[in-house]
């Protein structure tokens, strides 16, 4: 005699949030622009030509160079912190929901 078989499926509900959303991407783009702007500012006296190589650096050249280097440092620091924090958040998630960060879906149920 064969008894009917009933299948019961339990699905664990796990809600997750994307580590990097669209506005984050805009912010990262702005940070990259800051990095390029800082590099341009540091190199501008030599590229534009009002500062000769090997010559004495007047106050304007020093100001541009060190402000440019400072902006680059700020942008690089922010990018590193962002990447490290996002990767740490992804690595702490359960393995079966990590794929959400690589896909388009914002939620997994």
């Amino acid at each position: 005699m064969t008894l009917p078989v009933t299948t019961v499926t339990t699905v664990n509900t796990v809600t997750t949030v994307k580590a990097v959303n669209g506005r984050d991407k805009l912010g990262i783009f702005a940070l990259v622009l800051m990095l390029l702007g800082g590099a341009w500012l540091a190199a501008a006296p030599f590229i534009v030509g009002y500062q000769s190589r090997g010559g004495h650096w007047p106050e304007g050249t020093r100001n541009e160079f060190f402000v440019g280097v400072g902006i680059m440092a700020v942008a690089v620091t922010a990018l590193i912190v962002f990447a490290a924090n996002a990767l740490a958040e992804i690595s702490h998630r359960p393995a079966h929901v990590r794929h959400v960060d690589a896909g388009d879906a914002g939620y997994v149920d």
């Binding site: 949030v17 506005r23 984050d24 912010g27 800051m34 702007g37 106050e59 304007g60 100001n63 914002g106």
Partner: protein
């Protein structure tokens, strides 16, 4: 959350630095007022304006991302636009203060209930994973069970 705050702070620093770059030729004295702007001044001013705009964009983007993150986590409830309620057709309408109070209470405690439910689910998932790992079997809640009747 931390990374977005750091990004917004970096944007603020660059915004202030851009403002300084615009003022630096006059503040440091290598551009005299009333005379044609030198190449150095032009570089400083236009780079400063560009960096200020980029810094402002970074601030707005990271704060918007932070708000979106908090909304997705259920920690912030977005404000809904007020919708014009249709006018009652005719006749007096009896108010239902008790029901209105209840719906307001429900909307207040809904994020709390959601957060508690997520915590319970997470704890249950962790316990299932730990038990499955200890016994070498898959977690009981993550696959189908068959019951013979």
């Amino acid at each position: 959350m931390t990374r977005r705050l750091v990004g917004a702070i970096a944007g603020g620093i660059v915004l202030l630095t851009g403002a300084w770059l615009v003022l630096a030729p006059f503040g440091l004295g290598f551009q005299r007022s009333g005379k044609d702007w030198t190449d150095e001044t032009l570089t400083d001013v236009w780079t400063g304006i560009g960096l200020g705009v980029v810094g402002l964009i970074a601030i707005v983007a990271f704060l918007a991302a932070l708000r979106q993150h908090l909304v997705e986590r259920g920690l912030v409830t977005p404000r809904s636009r007020p919708v014009a309620e249709p006018q009652p057709a005719a006749g007096p309408v009896q108010p239902a203060p008790q029901q209105a109070g209840r719906s307001e209470l429900d909307s207040l405690i809904a994020p709390l209930i959601t957060a508690i439910t997520e915590d319970i689910n997470r704890d249950r998932q962790t316990a299932n994973n730990g038990a499955a790992h200890a016994s070498g079997r898959p977690a009981p809640g993550s696959e189908s069970k068959e019951q013979s009747l």
